[in-house]
Symmetry: C2
Subunit: 151 residues, 2 copies
DNA sequence: ATCGATGCAAATGTTTTGCATCGAT
DNA sequence: ATCGATGCAAAACATTTGCATCGAT
């Protein structure tokens, strides 16, 4: 996959521009993010890396992801559930989440038309929009089955 | 001010509907929120209350604010800076927010058509939606002026 | 050789919880 | 009288930081 190389290259370019060092660990973090191809908790990524590289540290993953976000290649996602997620900033600007209030699973979905309309309205109110997040909370298909009559 | 009474009344109604108790502390929290009239950190509110009522506890403020949010009279704001803010939900049933990433001000706006469309799509994915939140982050008109060339 | 990066553990800061007591119903 | 609510301190939690060592430049 050449996308991995491309992202890694851009990250390394960012690093040297800032007089920071290209390290094995930083590359491992970028690789893992590209391979995952979806948003993830910091800790999830840490465990994933840990499995293959026992000596990588928790702090390093945190530090690398923050750098990756600073470089603009990833972004921080905050769903208000206590921990930070990161996601590669791909082509598009999708931020639509379905969060299951029972099992916590996050499903992404897309609705470009809706987003455009929201952006237009925000603009009319004088806002310079940076990010757009649409968050729906409810029970996913699986958890609906398990709790037929919750509440 | 009669708005304070109105909010307090609605909150108490919510409490009794849930078979929860109306207490001095819960009323103090609501009062403080109405008086402040703006979003605030939990801890800021705690210190404010503490000044007049030395025996109110940290945990109680957290617990009361969460209840207030559950009742729909307030909402949680998460700017990703490590602590939670709360704000009274003025018009009640709005779910679209413009959050200024600089000053934290929250502006509500409405877009019923968009919401309906989102709910429909979520339903198609098998989700039983409980809450819907559309959050746009960016610079409000005021903060745009103050930082002409940020970054 | 320099000086930033790492891993670990300890520290931090916010939010939650256990528990004995208090107080609204 | 019951049983939820409170205050406190301790716990839990994700995240950050200090420091000795490692490694990219």
């Amino acid at each position: 996959m050449q996308m991995k190389q491309q992202v890694k290259e851009r990250f390394n370019h960012f690093l040297s521009r800032k007089h920071l060092k290209t390290t094995l660990q930083r590359n491992l973090v970028v690789d893992a993010m590209v391979e995952l191809g979806r948003h993830t908790h910091v800790d999830e990524l840490y465990l994933l890396l840990r499995a293959k590289h026992p000596y990588i540290g928790h702090a390093t993953v945190y530090r690398s992801l923050r750098l990756l976000a600073e470089s603009g290649l990833a972004r921080e996602i905050n769903l208000g559930d206590g921990f930070t997620r990161y996601e590669l900033a791909r082509q598009g600007e999708r931020h639509d989440y379905l969060v299951c209030s029972d099992c916590g699973t996050v499903t992404e979905f897309e609705n470009g038309a809706v987003e455009k309309e929201q952006l237009r309205r925000a603009h009319n109110l004088g806002f310079a929009i940076e990010t757009l997040k649409i968050e729906l909370k409810g029970l996913c298909r699986h958890c609906q089955g398990r709790h037929p009559n919750a509440n």
